[in-house]
Symmetry: C2
Subunit: 432 residues, 2 copies
């Protein structure tokens, strides 16, 4: 099956994004069109990224995929939909651009490998299953990769990857954005927000075909350099309701979700964009917390009800509110997605004190030296006043570890062939 | 201070009620007018009741109150409001009825004693403070008692309590209901629903003065004899946000609460009344669960968010849904008020099997012989199929005990002087 001929290959990295105005619910399951717009912060890839390599060859007899080193079933419907969409786009573009006949290359099979630089246990991918890194944050890098391979002239065995012809970059030109968003959406709705760095909104759009349901950058990663993001990884007891199933149930049964989507979110989108534009941290923080809470409220209003927050999540919520109350100012915000892990927003001058508060509330066991990951945090003592204000019985081990990161850039194409996750034979390279 | 003369004394019992369409939020804090109507089931007093004795005497120099045997501060604002309201009503009625001059008796001081026949730990009273049994379920018996004493001709030292002249009964005549509801509301909104047995609605009303915000019976206690109520008392970790403070915060900060009150509850009130009228258990059960969930969703949408459900509450929720799924039918419903205890509705033919499921999920420790209180439950085995369907790791001690009860009658006047909680000296009798 493996060919000795040179193969067309491309590797790309993509970031994780965390929504501050939450997406929950589709108005079109097939096209993955949301019932409301959403807005997210792109996290820095130094701490959290997904790397994906795609290779095509006429010699491949089937599509194959490896996630974090393990081969997965390529028949997974979302991945199929995504591949179909890519092939369809490539075909359309070719036809409209130069009238070329449909190249045989479009029937090439593809091999994909994708790895996260963070443990799956972090729960930052949206699915608890093996498809996590594709279905969630991980799908976005596949798109530019596949488009590059299939939409341009690379889909020919024997033609080397040509640096400079970055479909990803080309695609960002006005008018092609919708295509990128569309393909990303097919895999996992929120993945389309990982196509940009900084602060990104996913406009819900109005059209039935979803052409105006696209991601756009609200502000670049350089806009708010003081902003810090802490991921508090919580020990989860058991598997959750997956987000696809959960949001479908919410759309079908929660009267509050419809009201939220129609009557609450539009004003919140505008207000959140203003907070970011003006770097108004207290307002940004409060709205972030309120929107997280309202998302979880609609989960509770779902029938049967869904609960993603656990007892540790609630302790973190209380800790944040008491921390802010102690300071008489909103210095820290939490947000929770479809799982118990907290994502914390704060400014650089508050990180050390907040970490001390978390350390007090959830003292690490033997893993004290690896409790803090990512950006360096200078140690800070916890004042007796703050400790008293927190009024918390410590819960040892409640938080497994903290990843300290910041706002970061969008997907990157890696031109170094050494970065490819698949070898010349189209199979995963042995782990380094 | 105590007088040897005979005193005017009256004793009354009142039931606990459990809302199936929830009250949460006041449109008028002073008059205790709700933002939506609510509907409750009155529980049987054989299992849960509050007994209250009120005595008046010209010899008393101050109002005094004992709750569960302990003297409490009579200056508590709600109790003051309630006493003021009673005196005002008595004055008005006297003036309008027979043109009698204001009798000096209206300035009499009152002694009140109130006891629950269930542990405060059951958390069925709405306030965690010492005023629990007055502020919550316990206030309602005070009303007929005080009205009887002050609104009729008893407020004179030396005049014996006259059996047959039951203000409570008289008050139920059309037109006086609003007075009763009004006084009850002043103490604790939901207490007005404890004025009747069976199924009771509290109509929110429209008038600014609250005259049309009254409780009315939807169906008597004899209407649905198969209905059973189980209270699952859960070990709570710590004190909660009180319901008065909580609902004020929700009204001020939750966009979802306003929508619920205006756009969801009216249709649910009508549907719930239909379910009860037609004894349609599956629909009654589903709506009961949905409304409990929506109430807790609005608590989560409050800022800062409020959580009354704990991990055990969530295990009970999952147990109920799996129990129903196993049967392919909605045979059991849960509802939760401002605390972690579950109140379960089911029919008599399902009690034994559901108790077996709870016993499996939350095995009692050394208290197996007192785990079940109230109505007798014939032991039933848990089938292997149901146990597998529950898919629950047992949580020993998660449920402390179960009170099994049913729908019951409204307040009762006790004519036997032995029932008085206060002795001839106006002070609490020694506990039997």
């Amino acid at each position: 099956m493996a060919s000795e001929k040179p193969l067309a290959a491309v590797t790309c990295t993509a970031p994780v994004n965390i929504a501050v105005i939450k997406y929950w619910g589709k108005r079109d399951e097939e096209l993955v069109l949301p019932i409301n717009s959403s807005l997210s912060v792109t996290l820095h890839q130094d701490q959290l990224k997904t790397t994906t390599t795609a290779v095509i060859s006429k010699d491949f007899t089937e599509d194959r995929i490896w996630l974090n080193g393990r081969e997965e079933d390529v028949g997974q419907p979302r991945l199929q939909a995504c591949l179909r969409e890519i092939r369809c786009l490539a075909r359309k573009r070719r036809n409209s651009r130069d009238g070329d006949p449909l190249p045989s290359s479009l029937s090439c099979k593809v091999h994909v490998a994708s790895v996260n630089n963070f443990p799956t246990a972090a729960g930052l991918a949206s699915s608890a299953a093996g498809y996590a890194c594709l279905a969630g944050v991980g799908l976005s890098p596949v798109i530019p990769v596949l488009k590059r391979l299939m939409g341009e002239k690379h889909c020919r065995p024997g033609v080397q990857d040509q640096p400079g012809q970055h479909t990803y970059t080309l695609a960002r030109v006005y008018g092609v954005e919708s295509d990128l968003s569309e393909v990303a959406r097919r895999g996992s709705g929120s993945a389309c927000r990982s196509l940009y760095g900084g602060f990104v909104e996913w406009q819900m759009g109005e059209q039935a075909d979803g052409k105006d349901s696209i991601a756009r950058q609200v502000a670049p990663e350089s806009h708010w350099p003081e902003l810090r993001v802490l991921i508090l990884v919580v020990s989860a007891e058991k598997k959750l309701t997956g987000s696809t199933v959960g949001m479908r149930a919410s759309v079908e049964t929660s009267p509050l979700l419809r009201f939220r989507a129609e009557s609450v979110v539009p004003a919140r989108m505008a207000e959140m964009a203003r907070c970011i534009r003006e770097r108004d941290f207290p307002s940004f923080a409060q709205l972030t917390m309120k929107d997280s809470n309202q998302f979880h409220a609609t989960c509770l209003d779902t029938f049967p009800p869904i609960s993603y927050l656990n007892a540790i999540s609630w302790r973190i919520i209380h800790l944040v509110h008491r921390f802010n109350a102690h300071h008489g100012d909103t210095k820290v915000a939490y947000t929770f997605d479809a799982g118990p892990n907290a994502v914390i927003f704060t400014l650089d001058d508050t990180v050390a004190e907040f970490v001390a508060a978390v350390w007090h509330g959830f003292p690490p066991g033997s893993n004290g030296d690896t409790f803090l990951k990512g950006l360096q945090v200078r140690p800070a003592p916890l004042s007796a006043e703050l400790q008293a204000a927190l009024a918390m019985e410590p819960t040892p081990g409640g938080v497994k570890y903290i990843i300290v990161t910041q706002v970061g850039p969008g997907p990157q194409i890696l031109d170094d062939p050494c970065a490819h996750l698949l070898g010349p034979d189209g199979l995963p390279k042995p782990a380094a």
